[in-house]
Symmetry: C2
């Protein structure tokens, strides 16, 4: 028979089991924090009507989307979790309770040009709080609080959530008299990538005057603690309502964050961040791993005025964050930043000698009843091979079983890392492993 | 602006958050059992090369598959998890340890005709044990053991795993001299659906003689305990090697199942089941909820000789089971069989009076530090509306917070189910909720 070559599509990530265990552990931590903070799970279909997904339409999205027809139906694979959330919120509006706080951890699809560390299928881990008409700033504070909880638990070292409010930027530019504020914001947003010199050049190209650029630089260079930055902003005495509103909101959010118990060392007011996307209208966030800023922001998001304007006249303001887990995982693997201490999902493997398989199964049963995650090595073969299997699967303990062990009731528990071995009773094994 | 009507594609299941919580709890139980029994997670891409997915080709699959091209690439969405497993096992062969035991809980896609309770996107929860060259029967025993663990934990009432070995059927028919054994097996497999009369008719149409059909009926009507059935089979004195091998394997598997500690009340030798699929070659399983047999088998599977013959000459025998979770969940909802006792993921909601939001957040922080899953009600509004929100979200406890509570340090903990309310200190609240 002719064989087909078994391979995945280019740009699609696929992990080996031991990597998958680490990936899943990260995902579990994220999910735990999302749930414990009151966010409810939803799980929208991967496939949606194209007209629904592309209601906003335009640009890159349309090029990258996986779109096809089956029968008469024009359908596409989702490219993010925000558009499906908008559709979900409007479709199920009368069955939902507001503020509607949901999380979704799912794969999304983008047929991008293949590039190292960019994937065409990747996990997004999103939370959003959606208000019916309005939404308290407490939600804006909750986002960085949850980010901090997650990244502490992920044990990836120090990190910092950068926070800003787009109204401050918007008001500042309005006051400057600058016309093309969206364009300028986009330029400023790239500061970390392109550097100060290039940014100034781009601003000049956009038609800004010397003194305007001077003011922008002054504004961007405000330094100090968060409270000092707020004071410095206030003392600029800019008479613009939006600007003032932004400062008010930002200091209110900082107050709530402090009440949630998150220390300032993980939260930094950063007037430079604007987020590229057009629909953020208030608080915005980016998160950086200290010493690994080159990875880019590992968790971003912000406040928007209207989640679902393409589907409804209802005003649905929201605030949300997203962790691009596949990309983060890839980068962490590349930098060797993931702790591999515990790569097994079981505690112990029972390795029966020839003829002692049924006895081995009974022992597994007994250990499981006592709360030990024990499994049996089920195949025939040489004893060395069996231990090698236990080792390769990173199972912490093994235990060989033969006539002698059954007679004495003492079992040679072997620590697979240290190769230390002790003769123990079942009770002693349970005590040691718990 | 013209609005797009927000709706999902027909045949795609989407749950409300409180249903999703129940769904996820079931999925978590399945995953826990899979993991604790030594199965490793993998997560293959939803999209694969069409030539890989359709290597076996043919029939319904090809009609139902979601297939399209992007650029020059012909790609398709997976329609099961077995073909991706075969591709994965061969592609990563040198990095895997055998027996390779993997689980995958993922969505699969079939563009079937829309039908009540049939979905075009649905979850499969699969485990398979794959041997390199050969694979011990212990694995055949482990499958029903895991099914029993899962269905006990799911608390859906009594259930029974039906077990058979296709070699018994195959040998029996060989011995009869029946030619079209695959066809006959398929007919027998439908017995429960079509009834005895219709089955006999179909067998006649297939050209079987009266006395052959008589023998088949006799065989199918073997009664008694599992051990009695094995004895009855042996006493048929059929001189066929395959038949004898099947009996040997089945009784060996039953012995291992017993050693794993699973009682006979959950395991039934059922000579009728053959499983429609052609590739099962040994042990086969189906699982039924007692009193709800009309739902059909809720977990099925079996042993096969060659997982990946379309990709490789390697001999990769395996045994596996699959739970079609989306369909099961739908049926359970329909029959009102899911216990809704605990539909909240948090323990308590703090409801601050006007002006006490920051104090409320501090209280949440304190409770969280003590291990209570507390959240804050963040919006402005009337107190009644806030309690209603807690109620609708099925949060077990609420706690209103105002000046008096802060002064006294005593908080009115309200049981949302019973409406009972007690004035308690923070310590007392923690004790009560743990």
């Amino acid at each position: 028979m002719d064989k087909v070559k078994p391979s995945t599509l280019p740009g699609f990530m696929e992990l080996l089991p031991e990597e998958q265990i680490l990936f899943n552990k990260m995902m579990d931590i994220i999910r735990k924090h999302y749930e414990e903070n009151g966010f409810l799970p939803i799980d929208t279909p991967v496939l949606e009507k194209t007209e629904v997904l592309l209601a906003k339409g335009g640009g890159e999205t349309e090029k990258q989307i996986y779109r096809f027809t089956k029968g008469d139906t024009d359908m596409s694979m989702r490219f993010d979790l925000t558009v499906p959330l908008a559709r979900y919120t409007v479709e199920h509006f009368s069955d939902l309770n507001f503020p509607f706080k949901r999380y979704q951890i799912s794969k999304v699809y983008r047929g991008e040009r293949a590039q190292r560390g960019r994937f065409r299928e990747f996990y997004q881990c999103d939370i959003d709080a959606i208000g019916n008409g309005k939404l308290s700033l407490v939600n804006d504070a909750q986002m960085p609080v949850i980010i901090c909880g997650i990244f502490k638990d992920l044990k990836l070292g120090n990190f910092k959530v950068h926070i800003n409010n787009r109204k401050i930027l918007k008001g500042f530019f309005e006051n400057l008299g600058a016309k093309k504020e969206e364009e300028i914001l986009r330029t400023i947003d790239k500061l970390d990538k392109i550097g100060m010199g290039k940014m100034v050049e781009e601003l000049k190209d956009q038609g800004l005057k010397e003194e305007e650029i001077e003011k922008i630089l002054e504004f961007l260079q405000i330094q100090g603690k968060n409270s000092e930055k707020i004071s410095a902003l206030k003392s600029l005495k800019i008479e613009n309502e939006k600007f003032k509103e932004g400062i008010e909101e930002l200091s209110q959010v900082l107050e709530y964050i402090e009440a949630f118990g998150v220390s300032e060392e993980n939260i930094e007011v950063d007037l430079k961040i604007a987020r590229g996307l057009d629909y953020y209208t208030g608080t915005v966030y980016e998160t950086f791993l200290t010493g690994h800023e080159d990875v880019g922001s590992v968790c971003s998001g912000g406040r928007y005025d209207n989640l679902a304007e393409y589907y409804t006249d209802l005003k649905l303001p929201g605030v949300g964050i997203s962790i691009g887990l596949s990309r983060l995982f890839f980068k962490l693997m590349e930098k060797n930043l993931i702790q591999a201490e515990n790569k097994s999902l079981v505690d112990l493997i029972v390795i029966p000698m020839e003829g002692f398989l049924t006895e081995g199964i009974r022992l597994v049963k007994t250990l499981k009843e006592k709360g030990i995650k024990a499994i049996i090595y089920s195949e025939e073969g040489k004893i060395g091979k069996k231990f090698k299997y236990a080792d390769k699967l990173n199972i912490p303990y093994s235990l060989a079983l033969g006539e002698n062990e059954i007679k004495t009731g003492l079992y040679p528990l072997k620590n697979m890392k240290t190769s230390d071995q002790e003769e123990l009773s079942i009770e002693e094994i349970c005590q040691k492993l718990k």
